[in-house]
Symmetry: C2
């Protein structure tokens, strides 16, 4: 029986591992199929994580030192995929892809969310080098320069507006005629002078070189192409919430989630199920910032310790 | 009219400054009488802030690089004490100690809390070098060693229990005969084998050398003295919640607080007053960890940006 099973190895999961093991729990396992570190490892530069301000270092360099620290106090990493979490009496049963079952007193789910890709040519190639899915993270790198935003929902329009305060101009590209965002948000964007709205248009290709993105090839409904000279394109075409492990055999969620499938938590990262905690981008109202996910992980880890103490 | 007034210059206030200015707000002022950095600057070593794992560096070294980063994007530091925050129509009015009034669209209060000192000789001298007020932060430095805890309330007993999982032995020193903690917590501590309870006793003096604390002189009700050979003493004799700026002229709080005077917030760090946000140890359910306070600061900063966008 594990003291704590952590599912997901991004900033939230790693920090939960640090806090639970450093707090004296003996059997803590973090389940992560890939290399731990999360989305941030794909970034070429980070400057909004407090205490880390070195422009020569990439997201991968950044997470390297994290991992060393988080594993230092006894956290175990298991490279296995968890399919399902189920509460059985007072503990939890995890089903792994291998078929193996693992029992744990507590579970912290930190599987995050995955921004969807739009699917244009060059999108993957220039990801983290001009293609971004986070205006808060990367907007400042384009201060007083022109950028593009792709998408037509609330997030795309809100982020375009956020970028309009930092960048000299924002091209808002949307494949349809009308936006799916709230009327007030649409109005605000429409009356912002340095946002240029380009509808009925999609991105055909991102072009650049070893320095990163240099321009976008756009195509409208009449198959007419044009070139937009920008070094940054922010893609907001939806996110997959990685909540699959929290679904029961009957495909219901085992804990309370909101309309987007994000898990409802309180300030202690407790879900509606006792002993089950969630941290990071998977939860409702997450800000999708490394420092916020790390804070969540610490809170969840400390909540697990309190919960186990109360069980004893 | 400021875009945002931040009151307090610890990890929460500094990170709020980073996120608001990097997010494009022009007039952001952080009010902090002393050197920014907060309580952590008094620590001799930090190993639970993810990404910072260098045993040769002190809390002061740690905060130095933070400050550079947080001021890099345009945050202004005003070395003035804020006495009062008042909502006037749609904005806020701050009264400074100098008598000056400052207007701001939004306010983030991050004044934290201050652990009380017990008042024994050597307590200040060895603070951060054996005397601690945070078991989560410093407990691990005494792994498999003996430590002492001073206090008789819920926090003291919970922290003694937390330490009992990490340290070989915990001496729980309390000046009275009975504890003020919840019955369940008292029971749990009483039946923990490696917690030795020493009641009717106070600490007379902390003694050590340049390496830090080496022993405590205890004194009981009969004025009999004894020596306890420990390198760590954790003091939990209460905390002052620094919520004074949130009191009105009539001495009521301008926003909702809990029974301890900690400010009620939601997951976006919104208080019960629109445009007023709180981050860090001042809020309810705070874990009093640097990474949590920093996460709060980022959330509050981003909430301020959203709030201002919606005002426009």
């Amino acid at each position: 029986m594990l003291d704590c099973a952590i599912i997901g190895g991004g900033p939230a999961g790693l920090t939960a591992g640090l806090y639970t093991t450093r707090g004296g729990l003996k059997n803590v396992v973090m389940f992560e199929m890939g290399l731990p570190g999360g989305q941030i490892t794909q970034s070429s530069e980070i400057e909004n994580y407090p205490g880390f301000f070195d422009h020569t270092k990439t997201g991968m360099d950044f997470m390297d030192s994290w991992m060393e620290q988080c594993f230092h106090f006894g956290l175990t990493h298991k490279m296995e995929k968890v399919l399902k979490v189920k509460k059985v009496d007072e503990h939890f049963e995890l089903t792994l892809e291998s078929g193996e079952k693992v029992e744990s007193k507590t579970v912290i789910v930190a599987t995050g969310s995955t921004p969807k890709r739009a699917g244009f040519k060059g999108e993957d190639e220039f990801f983290g080098r001009g293609v971004s899915t986070c205006a808060t993270c990367d907007g400042f790198f384009y201060k007083n320069r022109e950028v593009a935003v792709l998408g037509g929902g609330d997030t795309a329009l809100e982020e375009a507006y956020y970028l309009s305060k930092i960048c000299s101009k924002v091209y808002l590209i949307h494949r349809r005629d009308e936006f799916r965002a709230s009327p007030l948000t649409i109005q605000r964007v429409q009356k912002t002078q340095n946002i240029e709205i380009i509808t009925n248009t999609h991105i055909k290709e991102a072009i650049g070189d070893s320095m990163g993105l240099s321009r976008l090839v756009l195509e409208n409904l009449n198959a007419e192409q044009s070139v937009l000279e920008v070094n940054g394109i922010f893609v907001f075409v939806g996110r997959n919430i990685n909540n699959g492990v929290l679904k029961s055999d009957e495909d219901n969620f085992i804990c309370e989630v909101n309309q987007y499938g994000e898990v409802s938590v309180d300030l202690k990262m407790r879900t509606s199920v006792e002993g089950l905690f969630v941290a990071g981008d998977l939860r409702a109202d997450a800000q999708k910032q490394v420092v916020c996910a790390a804070g969540d992980g610490a809170v969840a880890g400390l909540s697990v310790i309190s919960y186990i103490q109360e069980m004893e």
